[in-house]
């Protein structure tokens, strides 16, 4: 076995099965596009923003931002992220809005809480098949959370910056058709290249003069091309034409 493969060989292996590779890659990409556009249900996203800010009751008029207070609020955000997902909040949301028809567990799976580092802003995101429902859920959670925080943390420092508008009609966030096509393209290309090389590796036939030399250890006295019907009618001219053309170019 000769394991030394040159770049030339790689190119040759790919070119040999180029049509197979291209066909599968194109089909996979088209399939991904079709499935994303027509089969997968669209998913919409609605979000609210909350700000965590200690309303300083002692300070009257002079709203001084105290660095310690800000730091405390930043620490609190991590705590709040966890609290939102607990049954303490979720059960309340559910009992107030039975129309969602979700359990507390399902609801906490639906909601994503994030915050940009070192800001006091939290973002709640809910995904759902219908935008209106997503907006209703995320607003309900925000309202309940804001209302419950004082009793849980003994501090009233959450206010809602903006609610999810319930009448907007944004485009769905999922499925991302372009991304899915790109993924299908890349993955199928990798797989097909793998298959092409595997087939080549499993093919243990003699192919070139070099194989004869290295594997069989015999000289090749001649190589006979696959014979076509054309060979019986055309002289050597046809295969020489390329060479003469090159020569003609050189002579000019």
């Amino acid at each position: 076995m000769e394991l030394e493969l040159e770049l030339k060989d790689y190119v040759k292996i790919v070119r040999k099965r180029l049509w197979l590779i291209l066909t599968v890659v194109v089909l996979a990409s088209i399939a991904a596009g079709v499935v994303s556009m027509y089969v997968l249900k669209p998913v919409y996203e609605a979000s609210t923003k909350l700000i965590v800010n200690q309303s300083n009751e002692a300070a009257t008029g002079m709203q001084q931002l105290d660095l310690n207070a800000v730091n405390l609020n930043l620490r609190l955000i991590d705590t709040y992220k966890e609290i939102i997902k607990t049954p303490a909040i979720m059960d309340k949301v559910m009992s107030e809005h039975p129309k969602f028809g979700l359990t507390a567990g399902e609801l906490s799976d639906k909601v994503r809480v994030s915050s940009v580092n070192n800001t006091q802003v939290m973002t709640l995101v809910v995904e759902d098949g219908s935008y209106e429902r997503a907006a209703a859920i995320v607003n309900a959670i925000s309202i309940v959370f804001q209302r419950e925080i004082p009793s849980i943390m003994n501090v009233d420092n959450v206010s809602i910056l903006n609610e999810a508008p319930s009448n907007a009609s944004p485009s769905p966030v999922k499925p991302n058709v372009k991304l899915n096509i790109a993924i299908a393209f890349v993955v199928s290309l990798m797989v097909m290249l793998g298959i092409a090389f595997l087939l080549e590796y499993l093919d243990d036939t003699i192919k070139t003069e070099r194989d004869v030399e290295t594997v069989i250890g015999l000289p090749t006295l001649t190589a006979i091309a696959k014979t076509t019907d054309e060979d019986f009618t055309h002289g050597a001219k046809s295969s020489k034409r390329k060479v003469t053309d090159k020569r003609a170019v050189l002579e000019q």
Binding site: T205, I224, G235
Partner: protein
């Protein structure tokens, strides 16, 4: 894929100017070049598997030898699946087996072909005991006799792996051509074929690599012989 019609046609006869015919001329040249100390007069063609192209090689090589003004004889010693009479469109009523069983004389069954200087001895009727006939004294005497009558004798034999015939015939020859089919002959079978021939003390001249992809084979023609018009 060549159609059946072109498969059984001898390209060196039909179109001596084609690159493929040139490749057979190259084969002849290389055989002559490898005959440094002892002339190579009797050549056997064999392959690992059936269908790799040994009979095609035998018939075309016979034609290009004859075209070089050499008195050439092709013997079809593939007594299991003889094909030479198809290539040259000859009757196979009498041939090698009828000579070996003393039913007819060589002169009465050897056939002329459309190529000057080229004669063919077809296999004759298929016998029940090919290996015995081929290893008989009669066979070795026949080849010895024919050496004085012809410049070059090409013997087409069965594939090496199925039966021992090729090994038996190889002992009567000056050199063996192993025909391999690019993309079809498995490495291990090619190695086995080589080993079985070496076991019979055959002199393997080299390999004829058949069924090459155009792109790979074309490289040969650029450097070889085709004259321009």
């Amino acid at each position: 894929m060549p159609s059946l019609s072109s498969k059984r046609k001898i390209i060196a006869q039909h179109n001596p100017r084609s690159p493929i015919s040139e490749a057979y001329v190259k084969l002849r040249t290389n055989i002559e070049l490898s005959a440094v100390d002892s002339p190579i007069q009797v050549i056997m063609t064999t392959s690992a598997n059936p269908g790799d192209g040994k009979s095609t090689t035998a018939s075309n090589l016979g034609v290009v030898y004859a075209q070089a003004e050499k008195k050439t004889l092709i013997i079809d010693a593939d007594l299991r699946k003889p094909t030479m009479h198809h290539y040259f469109m000859l009757s196979n009523r009498g041939g090698l087996t009828s000579v070996l069983t003393n039913q007819s004389r060589f002169e009465s069954v050897v056939r002329d072909t459309s190529t000057p200087n080229l004669q063919v001895l077809t296999s004759g009727p298929i016998p029940p005991n090919p290996s015995e006939l081929l290893s008989s004294k009669r066979m070795s005497h026949l080849i010895e006799e024919l050496r004085s009558q012809y410049d070059t004798i090409i013997i087409d034999s069965p594939p090496t792996l199925a039966v021992a015939d090729a090994q038996i015939i190889s002992t009567l020859t000056d050199g063996v051509l192993l025909v391999l089919s690019s993309g079809n002959t498995k490495r291990d079978l090619a190695l086995k074929a080589k080993a079985s021939l070496e076991h019979a003390k055959a002199r393997i001249l080299g390999v004829v690599l058949n069924n090459m992809d155009r792109k790979n084979a074309d490289a040969y023609y650029y450097y070889y012989g085709a004259t321009e018009e």
